[in-house]
Protein backbone atom coordinates (compact mmCIF):
# COMPACT_ATOMS: atom_id res chain seq x y z
CA UNK A 1 0.00 0.00 0.00
CA UNK A 2 2.70 2.61 0.84
CA UNK A 3 4.36 1.86 -2.51
CA UNK A 4 1.17 2.54 -4.43
CA UNK A 5 0.47 5.73 -2.46
CA UNK A 6 4.00 6.99 -3.03
CA UNK A 7 3.85 6.10 -6.69
CA UNK A 8 0.55 7.92 -7.22
CA UNK A 9 1.85 10.89 -5.22
CA UNK A 10 5.00 11.06 -7.29
CA UNK A 11 2.92 10.97 -10.44
CA UNK A 12 1.06 14.10 -9.26
CA UNK A 13 4.36 15.90 -8.73
CA UNK A 14 5.76 14.87 -12.11
CA UNK A 15 2.58 15.97 -13.88
CA UNK A 16 2.64 19.29 -12.09
CA UNK A 17 6.21 20.00 -13.14
CA UNK A 18 5.32 19.16 -16.77
CA UNK A 19 2.37 21.57 -16.81
CA UNK A 20 4.04 24.86 -16.00
CA UNK A 21 1.00 27.01 -16.59
CA UNK A 22 -0.63 25.35 -13.60
CA UNK A 23 2.24 26.28 -11.34
CA UNK A 24 2.29 29.84 -12.59
CA UNK A 25 -1.48 30.31 -12.28
CA UNK A 26 -1.76 28.97 -8.78
CA UNK A 27 1.28 30.90 -7.56
CA UNK A 28 1.45 34.21 -9.36
CA UNK A 29 -2.18 35.28 -8.92
CA UNK A 30 -2.00 35.26 -5.11
CA UNK A 31 1.31 37.15 -5.19
CA UNK A 32 -0.27 39.84 -7.35
CA UNK A 33 -3.30 39.96 -5.02
CA UNK A 34 -1.08 40.36 -2.05
CA UNK A 35 1.04 43.18 -3.45
CA UNK A 36 -1.94 45.07 -4.90
CA UNK A 37 -4.35 44.69 -1.97
CA UNK A 38 -1.53 45.10 0.52
CA UNK A 39 -0.59 48.43 -1.03
CA UNK A 40 -4.06 49.58 -1.97
CA UNK A 41 -5.71 48.93 1.36
CA UNK A 42 -2.77 49.94 3.53
CA UNK A 43 -4.22 53.39 4.24
CA UNK A 44 -7.73 52.35 5.20
CA UNK A 45 -7.05 49.20 7.17
CA UNK A 46 -6.84 49.12 10.92
CA UNK A 47 -6.68 45.81 12.77
CA UNK A 48 -9.31 45.83 15.53
CA UNK A 49 -7.73 45.74 18.97
CA UNK A 50 -4.30 46.95 17.95
CA UNK A 51 -2.92 50.46 17.69
CA UNK A 52 -2.09 50.70 14.01
CA UNK A 53 0.88 48.38 14.41
CA UNK A 54 -0.21 45.80 11.83
CA UNK A 55 -0.16 46.75 8.15
CA UNK A 56 -2.70 45.23 5.79
CA UNK A 57 0.04 43.47 3.85
CA UNK A 58 1.11 41.84 7.07
CA UNK A 59 -2.44 40.92 8.08
CA UNK A 60 -3.12 39.57 4.62
CA UNK A 61 0.06 37.47 4.44
CA UNK A 62 -1.24 34.29 6.16
CA UNK A 63 -4.50 34.75 4.27
CA UNK A 64 -2.64 34.70 0.96
CA UNK A 65 -0.64 31.67 2.03
CA UNK A 66 -3.99 30.00 2.77
CA UNK A 67 -5.26 31.07 -0.65
CA UNK A 68 -2.28 29.54 -2.40
CA UNK A 69 -2.75 26.30 -0.49
CA UNK A 70 -6.43 26.35 -1.34
CA UNK A 71 -5.98 26.98 -5.07
CA UNK A 72 -3.22 24.45 -5.45
CA UNK A 73 -5.06 21.79 -3.45
CA UNK A 74 -8.31 22.31 -5.27
CA UNK A 75 -6.63 22.35 -8.68
CA UNK A 76 -4.89 19.11 -7.80
CA UNK A 77 -8.21 17.59 -6.86
CA UNK A 78 -9.69 18.68 -10.20
CA UNK A 79 -7.17 16.40 -11.86
CA UNK A 80 -9.42 13.52 -10.79
CA UNK A 81 -11.76 14.69 -13.56
CA UNK A 82 -8.86 14.83 -15.96
CA UNK A 83 -7.65 11.38 -14.90
CA UNK A 84 -11.08 10.03 -15.63
CA UNK A 85 -11.43 11.77 -18.99
CA UNK A 86 -7.92 10.87 -20.10
CA UNK A 87 -8.57 7.29 -19.03
CA UNK A 88 -5.76 6.88 -16.52
CA UNK A 89 -8.26 6.38 -13.69
CA UNK A 90 -9.87 3.28 -15.24
CA UNK A 91 -6.46 1.60 -15.30
CA UNK A 92 -5.97 2.37 -11.62
CA UNK A 93 -9.46 1.17 -10.71
CA UNK A 94 -8.96 -2.27 -12.28
CA UNK A 95 -5.67 -2.74 -10.45
CA UNK A 96 -5.68 -4.47 -7.05
CA UNK A 97 -4.63 -1.25 -5.28
CA UNK A 98 -6.81 -0.44 -2.27
CA UNK A 99 -9.25 2.39 -2.86
CA UNK A 100 -7.80 4.15 0.18
CA UNK A 101 -4.39 4.22 -1.54
CA UNK A 102 -5.95 5.81 -4.61
CA UNK A 103 -7.44 8.59 -2.50
CA UNK A 104 -4.32 9.06 -0.37
CA UNK A 105 -2.07 9.19 -3.44
CA UNK A 106 -4.14 11.99 -4.93
CA UNK A 107 -4.40 13.88 -1.63
CA UNK A 108 -0.74 13.56 -0.65
CA UNK A 109 0.37 14.74 -4.08
CA UNK A 110 -1.90 17.78 -3.93
CA UNK A 111 -0.91 18.58 -0.35
CA UNK A 112 2.81 18.44 -1.06
CA UNK A 113 2.43 20.77 -4.02
CA UNK A 114 0.27 23.13 -2.00
CA UNK A 115 2.71 23.30 0.91
CA UNK A 116 5.72 23.81 -1.36
CA UNK A 117 3.99 26.68 -3.15
CA UNK A 118 2.81 28.18 0.14
CA UNK A 119 6.36 28.14 1.50
CA UNK A 120 7.78 29.50 -1.72
CA UNK A 121 5.38 32.43 -1.43
CA UNK A 122 6.28 33.10 2.19
CA UNK A 123 9.95 33.09 1.26
CA UNK A 124 9.27 35.48 -1.59
CA UNK A 125 7.18 37.72 0.65
CA UNK A 126 10.00 37.88 3.18
CA UNK A 127 12.23 39.10 0.37
CA UNK A 128 9.70 41.53 -1.11
CA UNK A 129 9.42 43.60 2.05
CA UNK A 130 12.99 44.78 1.50
CA UNK A 131 12.21 46.03 -1.99
CA UNK A 132 9.76 48.64 -0.78
CA UNK A 133 6.84 47.15 -2.75
CA UNK A 134 5.18 46.23 0.52
CA UNK A 135 5.77 47.71 3.97
CA UNK A 136 8.22 46.11 6.38
CA UNK A 137 6.76 43.36 8.48
CA UNK A 138 7.34 42.28 12.00
CA UNK A 139 7.48 38.58 11.48
CA UNK A 140 8.12 35.74 13.88
CA UNK A 141 11.05 33.91 12.29
CA UNK A 142 11.88 30.98 14.52
CA UNK A 143 12.19 27.25 14.05
CA UNK A 144 8.98 26.66 16.02
CA UNK A 145 7.14 29.14 13.87
CA UNK A 146 8.49 27.55 10.70
CA UNK A 147 7.56 24.01 11.75
CA UNK A 148 4.14 25.21 12.88
CA UNK A 149 3.60 27.01 9.57
CA UNK A 150 4.49 23.92 7.57
CA UNK A 151 2.26 21.78 9.75
CA UNK A 152 -0.73 24.08 9.32
CA UNK A 153 -0.23 24.46 5.61
CA UNK A 154 -0.18 20.67 5.33
CA UNK A 155 -3.25 20.21 7.45
CA UNK A 156 -5.17 22.82 5.46
CA UNK A 157 -3.92 21.44 2.15
CA UNK A 158 -4.92 17.91 3.00
CA UNK A 159 -8.42 18.92 4.09
CA UNK A 160 -8.96 21.11 1.03
CA UNK A 161 -7.69 18.42 -1.33
CA UNK A 162 -10.11 16.05 0.32
CA UNK A 163 -12.93 18.56 -0.13
CA UNK A 164 -12.00 19.15 -3.77
CA UNK A 165 -11.95 15.40 -4.39
CA UNK A 166 -15.55 15.11 -3.18
CA UNK A 167 -16.69 17.54 -5.86
CA UNK A 168 -14.29 16.33 -8.54
CA UNK A 169 -15.36 12.72 -8.15
CA UNK A 170 -18.98 13.64 -8.81
CA UNK A 171 -18.39 15.96 -11.73
CA UNK A 172 -17.46 15.04 -15.24
CA UNK A 173 -16.21 18.36 -16.53
CA UNK A 174 -13.67 20.93 -15.46
CA UNK A 175 -16.21 23.64 -16.35
CA UNK A 176 -18.59 22.29 -13.72
CA UNK A 177 -15.83 22.41 -11.21
CA UNK A 178 -15.12 26.06 -11.97
CA UNK A 179 -18.73 26.87 -11.12
CA UNK A 180 -18.33 25.22 -7.72
CA UNK A 181 -15.03 26.97 -7.30
CA UNK A 182 -16.50 30.43 -7.73
CA UNK A 183 -19.76 30.03 -5.83
CA UNK A 184 -18.57 27.85 -3.01
CA UNK A 185 -14.83 27.56 -2.60
CA UNK A 186 -13.80 31.15 -3.27
CA UNK A 187 -16.38 32.55 -0.79
CA UNK A 188 -15.17 29.93 1.64
CA UNK A 189 -11.76 31.53 1.46
CA UNK A 190 -13.15 35.09 1.63
CA UNK A 191 -15.07 34.18 4.78
CA UNK A 192 -12.25 32.43 6.56
CA UNK A 193 -10.79 35.51 8.21
CA UNK A 194 -8.11 35.50 5.53
CA UNK A 195 -9.29 38.62 3.72
CA UNK A 196 -10.75 40.61 6.59
CA UNK A 197 -10.91 39.96 10.34
CA UNK A 198 -13.94 38.12 11.67
CA UNK A 199 -14.48 40.44 14.61
CA UNK A 200 -17.54 42.69 14.76
CA UNK A 201 -19.13 41.93 11.40
CA UNK A 202 -22.62 40.79 12.50
CA UNK A 203 -24.13 37.72 10.84
CA UNK A 204 -20.98 37.17 8.82
CA UNK A 205 -19.32 36.31 12.09
CA UNK A 206 -21.44 33.16 12.35
CA UNK A 207 -20.67 32.03 8.86
CA UNK A 208 -17.00 32.60 9.50
CA UNK A 209 -17.22 30.59 12.73
CA UNK A 210 -18.90 27.70 10.89
CA UNK A 211 -16.30 27.65 8.12
CA UNK A 212 -13.68 24.96 8.74
CA UNK A 213 -11.09 26.94 6.80
CA UNK A 214 -11.34 29.72 9.42
CA UNK A 215 -9.53 27.46 11.85
CA UNK A 216 -6.75 26.69 9.42
CA UNK A 217 -6.19 30.38 8.74
CA UNK A 218 -6.41 31.21 12.46
CA UNK A 219 -3.91 28.49 13.31
CA UNK A 220 -1.57 29.82 10.65
CA UNK A 221 -1.89 33.36 12.06
CA UNK A 222 -1.13 32.10 15.52
CA UNK A 223 2.07 30.30 14.54
CA UNK A 224 3.27 33.18 12.36
CA UNK A 225 2.41 36.08 14.68
CA UNK A 226 5.09 37.79 16.68
CA UNK A 227 2.63 39.95 18.62
CA UNK A 228 0.22 37.96 20.78
CA UNK A 229 -2.24 40.90 20.91
CA UNK A 230 -2.94 40.68 17.16
CA UNK A 231 -4.22 37.10 17.43
CA UNK A 232 -5.94 37.36 20.83
CA UNK A 233 -9.41 37.38 19.25
CA UNK A 234 -8.84 34.23 17.20
CA UNK A 235 -9.93 30.70 18.17
CA UNK A 236 -7.47 28.95 20.45
CA UNK A 237 -4.64 26.84 19.07
CA UNK A 238 -6.28 23.65 20.36
CA UNK A 239 -9.55 24.44 18.58
CA UNK A 240 -7.70 25.27 15.38
CA UNK A 241 -5.85 21.95 15.34
CA UNK A 242 -8.89 19.91 16.36
CA UNK A 243 -11.23 21.43 13.76
CA UNK A 244 -8.67 21.17 10.97
CA UNK A 245 -7.84 17.54 11.76
CA UNK A 246 -11.48 16.50 12.03
CA UNK A 247 -12.35 18.32 8.79
CA UNK A 248 -9.54 16.57 6.92
CA UNK A 249 -10.51 13.16 8.31
CA UNK A 250 -14.17 13.58 7.43
CA UNK A 251 -13.24 14.53 3.87
CA UNK A 252 -10.92 11.53 3.48
CA UNK A 253 -13.56 9.14 4.78
CA UNK A 254 -16.11 10.51 2.30
CA UNK A 255 -13.54 10.34 -0.53
CA UNK A 256 -12.72 6.69 0.15
CA UNK A 257 -16.38 5.76 0.40
CA UNK A 258 -17.20 7.41 -2.90
CA UNK A 259 -14.23 5.78 -4.60
CA UNK A 260 -15.28 2.36 -3.32
CA UNK A 261 -18.89 2.71 -4.30
CA UNK A 262 -18.77 4.50 -7.58
CA UNK A 263 -17.61 2.64 -10.65
CA UNK A 264 -16.91 4.00 -14.07
Amino acid sequence: MPLAVWSLTKRELVRFVRQRSRAIGAFLQPVIFWVLFGTGLSGSFRMPGTEGGLSYAEFFLPGIAAMIVMFTSIFSAISVIQDRNEGFLQGVLVSPVSRTSIVLGKLCGGTLLAVLQGLLFLGLAAGLQFTGLVPKMDWNLSVTSFVGTVAFLMLMGFGLCGLGYIFAWRLDSIQGFHAIMSVLLFPMWLLSGAFFPAAGSGWLKWIIAANPLTYGVAGLRRVMASDAASVAELPSMGTCIAVSVVFALVCVVIDVRMTKKHRI
Binding site: S7, R11, G87, S95, P96, V97, R263
Partner: protein
Protein backbone atom coordinates in the same frame (compact mmCIF):
# COMPACT_ATOMS: atom_id res chain seq x y z
CA UNK B 1 -12.25 -31.10 -18.71
CA UNK B 2 -10.32 -28.40 -16.89
CA UNK B 3 -11.94 -25.58 -14.99
CA UNK B 4 -12.75 -22.71 -17.30
CA UNK B 5 -10.52 -19.63 -17.13
CA UNK B 6 -13.55 -17.43 -17.39
CA UNK B 7 -17.15 -18.23 -16.85
CA UNK B 8 -20.29 -16.17 -17.17
CA UNK B 9 -23.52 -17.65 -15.87
CA UNK B 10 -26.89 -16.02 -16.39
CA UNK B 11 -25.51 -12.49 -16.28
CA UNK B 12 -28.03 -9.70 -16.83
CA UNK B 13 -27.46 -5.99 -16.55
CA UNK B 14 -29.73 -2.97 -16.72
CA UNK B 15 -28.91 0.71 -17.06
CA UNK B 16 -32.10 2.08 -15.61
CA UNK B 17 -34.80 0.99 -18.06
CA UNK B 18 -32.47 -0.27 -20.72
CA UNK B 19 -31.59 -3.95 -20.61
CA UNK B 20 -27.96 -4.08 -21.70
CA UNK B 21 -27.38 -7.77 -21.06
CA UNK B 22 -29.93 -10.51 -20.83
CA UNK B 23 -29.10 -13.88 -19.28
CA UNK B 24 -25.71 -14.34 -20.93
CA UNK B 25 -23.93 -17.65 -20.28
CA UNK B 26 -20.65 -18.96 -21.68
CA UNK B 27 -17.26 -20.24 -20.57
CA UNK B 28 -13.75 -19.72 -21.90
CA UNK B 29 -11.16 -22.47 -21.54
CA UNK B 30 -7.59 -21.74 -20.43
CA UNK B 31 -5.35 -20.75 -23.31
CA UNK B 32 -8.24 -19.92 -25.57
CA UNK B 33 -8.69 -16.74 -27.59
CA UNK B 34 -12.36 -15.98 -27.20
CA UNK B 35 -14.05 -13.23 -29.15
CA UNK B 36 -17.24 -11.41 -28.29
CA UNK B 37 -18.57 -10.20 -31.59
CA UNK B 38 -21.45 -7.80 -31.87
CA UNK B 39 -22.47 -4.40 -33.13
CA UNK B 40 -21.88 -1.30 -31.05
CA UNK B 41 -24.48 -1.17 -28.32
CA UNK B 42 -24.88 -4.97 -28.36
CA UNK B 43 -23.67 -5.28 -24.79
CA UNK B 44 -20.02 -6.20 -25.34
CA UNK B 45 -18.55 -3.34 -23.39
CA UNK B 46 -21.02 -3.79 -20.55
CA UNK B 47 -19.96 -7.40 -20.19
CA UNK B 48 -16.31 -6.37 -20.47
CA UNK B 49 -16.79 -3.89 -17.64
CA UNK B 50 -18.46 -6.43 -15.41
CA UNK B 51 -15.58 -8.85 -15.98
CA UNK B 52 -12.98 -6.16 -15.35
CA UNK B 53 -14.71 -5.21 -12.04
CA UNK B 54 -15.68 -1.69 -13.10
CA UNK B 55 -19.41 -2.45 -13.16
CA UNK B 56 -21.18 -4.36 -10.39
CA UNK B 57 -22.77 -7.76 -11.04
CA UNK B 58 -26.52 -7.14 -10.89
CA UNK B 59 -27.71 -10.62 -11.68
CA UNK B 60 -25.97 -13.91 -12.35
CA UNK B 61 -22.41 -14.90 -11.64
CA UNK B 62 -19.06 -14.26 -13.28
CA UNK B 63 -15.76 -15.87 -12.35
CA UNK B 64 -12.22 -15.40 -13.61
CA UNK B 65 -9.64 -18.07 -12.77
CA UNK B 66 -12.09 -19.34 -10.19
CA UNK B 67 -12.49 -15.98 -8.43
CA UNK B 68 -15.98 -14.55 -8.22
CA UNK B 69 -16.11 -11.01 -9.59
CA UNK B 70 -18.70 -9.85 -7.06
CA UNK B 71 -17.26 -11.58 -3.98
CA UNK B 72 -13.53 -11.10 -4.46
CA UNK B 73 -12.85 -8.29 -6.93
CA UNK B 74 -9.29 -7.84 -5.65
CA UNK B 75 -8.36 -11.44 -6.44
CA UNK B 76 -9.86 -10.98 -9.90
CA UNK B 77 -7.94 -7.73 -10.38
CA UNK B 78 -4.65 -9.49 -9.61
CA UNK B 79 -5.41 -12.19 -12.17
CA UNK B 80 -6.44 -10.07 -15.12
CA UNK B 81 -4.71 -7.68 -17.46
CA UNK B 82 -7.07 -5.12 -18.97
CA UNK B 83 -6.82 -3.12 -22.17
CA UNK B 84 -9.60 -0.60 -22.51
CA UNK B 85 -11.15 0.69 -25.66
CA UNK B 86 -10.21 4.23 -24.65
CA UNK B 87 -6.63 4.98 -23.66
CA UNK B 88 -5.53 4.53 -20.07
CA UNK B 89 -2.02 5.92 -20.32
CA UNK B 90 -1.07 9.07 -18.49
CA UNK B 91 -0.38 11.34 -21.48
CA UNK B 92 2.03 13.52 -19.52
CA UNK B 93 4.28 10.66 -18.47
CA UNK B 94 6.89 8.88 -20.55
CA UNK B 95 6.37 5.33 -21.76
CA UNK B 96 8.83 4.06 -19.15
CA UNK B 97 7.15 6.01 -16.34
CA UNK B 98 3.73 4.75 -17.34
CA UNK B 99 4.98 1.17 -17.04
CA UNK B 100 6.84 1.79 -13.78
CA UNK B 101 3.81 3.33 -12.09
CA UNK B 102 1.66 0.51 -13.36
CA UNK B 103 4.12 -1.99 -11.86
CA UNK B 104 3.94 -0.22 -8.51
CA UNK B 105 0.16 -0.53 -8.50
CA UNK B 106 0.66 -4.29 -8.73
CA UNK B 107 3.32 -4.32 -6.02
CA UNK B 108 6.25 -4.87 -8.38
CA UNK B 109 9.52 -3.09 -7.62
CA UNK B 110 13.22 -2.82 -8.31
CA UNK B 111 15.09 -5.22 -10.53
CA UNK B 112 12.10 -7.49 -11.19
CA UNK B 113 10.05 -4.58 -12.43
CA UNK B 114 12.87 -3.18 -14.52
CA UNK B 115 13.55 -6.56 -16.10
CA UNK B 116 9.90 -7.03 -16.92
CA UNK B 117 9.60 -3.54 -18.44
CA UNK B 118 12.70 -4.11 -20.58
CA UNK B 119 11.33 -7.46 -21.72
CA UNK B 120 7.95 -6.11 -22.75
CA UNK B 121 9.30 -2.98 -24.42
CA UNK B 122 11.60 -5.23 -26.39
CA UNK B 123 8.95 -7.69 -27.44
CA UNK B 124 6.57 -4.96 -28.49
CA UNK B 125 9.27 -3.06 -30.34
CA UNK B 126 9.09 -0.06 -28.02
CA UNK B 127 12.63 -0.05 -26.62
CA UNK B 128 13.59 3.20 -28.34
CA UNK B 129 10.39 4.89 -27.14
CA UNK B 130 11.02 4.48 -23.43
CA UNK B 131 11.59 8.18 -22.75
CA UNK B 132 8.96 9.50 -25.15
CA UNK B 133 6.05 11.34 -23.53
CA UNK B 134 2.97 9.19 -24.08
CA UNK B 135 0.87 11.92 -25.72
CA UNK B 136 3.46 12.38 -28.47
CA UNK B 137 3.12 8.77 -29.69
CA UNK B 138 1.08 7.67 -32.69
CA UNK B 139 -2.14 5.71 -32.18
CA UNK B 140 -0.54 2.39 -32.99
CA UNK B 141 2.37 2.94 -30.62
CA UNK B 142 0.05 4.07 -27.82
CA UNK B 143 -1.96 0.89 -28.25
CA UNK B 144 1.20 -1.17 -27.97
CA UNK B 145 2.11 0.61 -24.75
CA UNK B 146 -1.41 -0.11 -23.46
CA UNK B 147 -0.86 -3.79 -24.19
CA UNK B 148 2.55 -3.74 -22.51
CA UNK B 149 0.94 -2.08 -19.53
CA UNK B 150 -1.77 -4.70 -19.21
CA UNK B 151 0.77 -7.54 -19.49
CA UNK B 152 3.26 -6.15 -17.01
CA UNK B 153 2.16 -8.21 -14.01
CA UNK B 154 1.97 -11.41 -16.09
CA UNK B 155 -1.78 -11.85 -15.91
CA UNK B 156 -3.25 -15.25 -16.65
CA UNK B 157 -6.23 -13.72 -18.36
CA UNK B 158 -6.13 -10.79 -20.72
CA UNK B 159 -9.29 -8.78 -21.38
CA UNK B 160 -9.27 -6.45 -24.36
CA UNK B 161 -12.12 -4.14 -25.33
CA UNK B 162 -12.03 -3.33 -29.06
CA UNK B 163 -8.23 -3.44 -29.05
CA UNK B 164 -7.78 -2.44 -32.66
CA UNK B 165 -9.72 0.82 -32.39
CA UNK B 166 -7.65 3.42 -34.20
CA UNK B 167 -5.09 0.95 -35.54
CA UNK B 168 -4.10 0.77 -39.18
CA UNK B 169 -4.27 -2.68 -40.81
CA UNK B 170 -0.56 -3.30 -40.30
CA UNK B 171 -0.67 -2.53 -36.61
CA UNK B 172 -3.84 -4.60 -36.26
CA UNK B 173 -2.09 -7.54 -37.85
CA UNK B 174 0.86 -7.18 -35.46
CA UNK B 175 -1.49 -7.02 -32.50
CA UNK B 176 -3.17 -10.27 -33.41
CA UNK B 177 0.10 -11.99 -34.10
CA UNK B 178 1.22 -10.97 -30.67
CA UNK B 179 -1.98 -12.21 -29.04
CA UNK B 180 -1.59 -15.67 -30.58
CA UNK B 181 2.04 -15.70 -29.54
CA UNK B 182 1.03 -14.91 -25.96
CA UNK B 183 -1.48 -17.68 -25.98
CA UNK B 184 0.92 -20.28 -27.37
CA UNK B 185 4.00 -19.28 -25.38
CA UNK B 186 2.62 -18.20 -22.02
CA UNK B 187 -0.75 -19.95 -22.07
CA UNK B 188 -2.54 -16.66 -21.50
CA UNK B 189 -6.30 -16.78 -21.94
CA UNK B 190 -7.55 -13.92 -24.06
CA UNK B 191 -11.04 -12.47 -24.20
CA UNK B 192 -11.49 -9.78 -26.78
CA UNK B 193 -14.51 -7.79 -27.85
CA UNK B 194 -14.80 -6.65 -31.43
CA UNK B 195 -17.25 -5.45 -34.04
CA UNK B 196 -14.96 -6.40 -36.91
CA UNK B 197 -15.69 -9.63 -38.76
CA UNK B 198 -12.11 -10.13 -39.94
CA UNK B 199 -10.93 -9.85 -36.36
CA UNK B 200 -13.50 -12.32 -35.15
CA UNK B 201 -12.20 -14.82 -37.74
CA UNK B 202 -8.92 -14.96 -35.83
CA UNK B 203 -10.50 -16.09 -32.56
CA UNK B 204 -10.59 -19.74 -31.47
CA UNK B 205 -14.19 -19.37 -30.44
CA UNK B 206 -16.77 -16.68 -30.70
CA UNK B 207 -19.84 -15.48 -28.91
CA UNK B 208 -22.24 -13.37 -30.94
CA UNK B 209 -23.88 -10.73 -28.84
CA UNK B 210 -26.93 -8.92 -30.13
CA UNK B 211 -29.15 -6.58 -28.11
CA UNK B 212 -27.70 -7.97 -24.92
CA UNK B 213 -28.32 -11.60 -25.77
CA UNK B 214 -25.86 -14.27 -26.77
CA UNK B 215 -27.30 -15.45 -30.08
CA UNK B 216 -24.55 -17.87 -31.14
CA UNK B 217 -21.53 -19.60 -29.66
CA UNK B 218 -18.87 -21.69 -31.38
CA UNK B 219 -15.72 -21.67 -33.50
CA UNK B 220 -15.89 -19.43 -36.57
CA UNK B 221 -16.06 -22.57 -38.74
CA UNK B 222 -18.84 -24.13 -36.71
CA UNK B 223 -20.82 -20.94 -36.90
CA UNK B 224 -20.41 -20.64 -40.63
CA UNK B 225 -21.29 -24.30 -41.16
CA UNK B 226 -24.40 -23.84 -39.06
CA UNK B 227 -25.72 -21.49 -41.71
CA UNK B 228 -25.74 -24.42 -44.10
CA UNK B 229 -24.22 -24.48 -47.55
CA UNK B 230 -24.16 -21.30 -49.55
CA UNK B 231 -25.82 -17.95 -49.14
CA UNK B 232 -27.85 -16.44 -51.91
CA UNK B 233 -29.09 -12.91 -51.70
CA UNK B 234 -31.71 -11.79 -54.21
CA UNK B 235 -32.62 -8.17 -54.85
CA UNK B 236 -36.18 -8.18 -56.24
CA UNK B 237 -37.23 -5.70 -58.89
CA UNK B 238 -40.18 -4.70 -56.70
CA UNK B 239 -39.37 -4.81 -53.02
CA UNK B 240 -42.33 -6.02 -50.98
CA UNK B 241 -43.74 -8.18 -53.76
CA UNK B 242 -44.78 -11.79 -53.21
CA UNK B 243 -41.49 -13.04 -54.64
CA UNK B 244 -40.27 -14.49 -51.31
CA UNK B 245 -43.40 -16.61 -51.00
CA UNK B 246 -43.13 -17.76 -54.56
CA UNK B 247 -39.47 -18.76 -54.07
CA UNK B 248 -40.38 -20.60 -50.88
CA UNK B 249 -43.16 -22.55 -52.56
CA UNK B 250 -41.36 -23.32 -55.73
CA UNK B 251 -38.01 -24.48 -54.30
CA UNK B 252 -39.14 -25.56 -50.82
CA UNK B 253 -36.47 -23.52 -49.01
CA UNK B 254 -36.38 -21.24 -45.96
CA UNK B 255 -36.49 -17.64 -47.04
CA UNK B 256 -35.49 -14.64 -44.92
CA UNK B 257 -36.27 -11.04 -45.79
CA UNK B 258 -33.69 -8.51 -44.70
CA UNK B 259 -34.14 -4.87 -45.70
CA UNK B 260 -36.07 -5.72 -48.86
CA UNK B 261 -33.52 -8.31 -49.94
CA UNK B 262 -34.30 -12.02 -49.95
CA UNK B 263 -31.84 -14.44 -48.34
CA UNK B 264 -31.75 -18.16 -48.96
CA UNK B 265 -29.32 -20.69 -47.52
CA UNK B 266 -28.85 -23.86 -49.44
CA UNK B 267 -26.39 -26.66 -50.17
CA UNK B 268 -25.36 -26.62 -53.83
CA UNK B 269 -26.45 -23.00 -54.00
CA UNK B 270 -25.17 -22.42 -57.52
CA UNK B 271 -27.89 -24.69 -58.89
CA UNK B 272 -30.53 -22.70 -57.08
CA UNK B 273 -29.13 -19.46 -58.53
CA UNK B 274 -29.52 -20.87 -62.03
CA UNK B 275 -33.04 -22.21 -61.44
CA UNK B 276 -34.14 -19.11 -59.62
CA UNK B 277 -33.13 -16.72 -62.37
CA UNK B 278 -34.71 -19.03 -64.95
CA UNK B 279 -37.96 -19.25 -62.98
CA UNK B 280 -38.41 -15.53 -62.23
CA UNK B 281 -36.49 -13.71 -64.95
CA UNK B 282 -38.48 -10.49 -64.66
CA UNK B 283 -38.80 -10.29 -60.89
CA UNK B 284 -35.10 -10.52 -60.03
CA UNK B 285 -32.88 -7.45 -60.23
CA UNK B 286 -29.66 -9.06 -59.04
CA UNK B 287 -28.41 -12.17 -57.29
CA UNK B 288 -25.37 -12.46 -55.02
CA UNK B 289 -23.92 -15.82 -54.25
CA UNK B 290 -21.27 -16.73 -51.68
CA UNK B 291 -19.99 -18.95 -48.92
CA UNK B 292 -21.49 -17.88 -45.58
CA UNK B 293 -19.62 -15.25 -43.59
CA UNK B 294 -19.93 -14.43 -39.93
CA UNK B 295 -22.23 -11.62 -40.98
CA UNK B 296 -24.51 -14.24 -42.55
CA UNK B 297 -24.47 -16.08 -39.23
CA UNK B 298 -25.45 -12.89 -37.53
CA UNK B 299 -28.27 -12.20 -39.98
CA UNK B 300 -29.55 -15.73 -39.73
CA UNK B 301 -29.67 -15.64 -35.93
CA UNK B 302 -31.10 -12.16 -35.50
CA UNK B 303 -33.01 -11.51 -38.72
CA UNK B 304 -31.34 -8.20 -39.37
CA UNK B 305 -28.07 -6.74 -40.56
CA UNK B 306 -25.11 -6.34 -38.27
CA UNK B 307 -25.05 -2.57 -38.74
CA UNK B 308 -28.77 -2.03 -38.22
CA UNK B 309 -28.35 -2.42 -34.56
CA UNK B 310 -27.08 1.00 -33.61
CA UNK B 311 -28.20 1.89 -30.12
CA UNK B 312 -30.78 4.63 -29.93
CA UNK B 313 -29.82 5.98 -26.51
CA UNK B 314 -26.05 5.95 -26.22
Amino acid sequence: MTDPALSVEGVSFRYGDRQALHDVTFAVQPGEIFGLLGPNGGGKTTLFRILSTTLPVQQGRATLAGHDVAASPDAVRRTIGVTFQSPSLDPKLTVGENLTYQGHLYGMTGATLKQRCDDLLNRLGLSDRRSDIAETLSGGLKRRVEIAKSLLHEPRILLLDEPSTGLDPGARHDLWRYLSQLRSEAGVTVMVTTHLMEEAERCDRLGLLSKGELVALGTPDELRTSVGGDCITVQPVEPGSDLPTRIRERFEVDVQEVDGAIRVEREQGHELVRDLVAAFPNAVKSVAFGKPTLEDVFIQRTGHHFWDEEPSDS
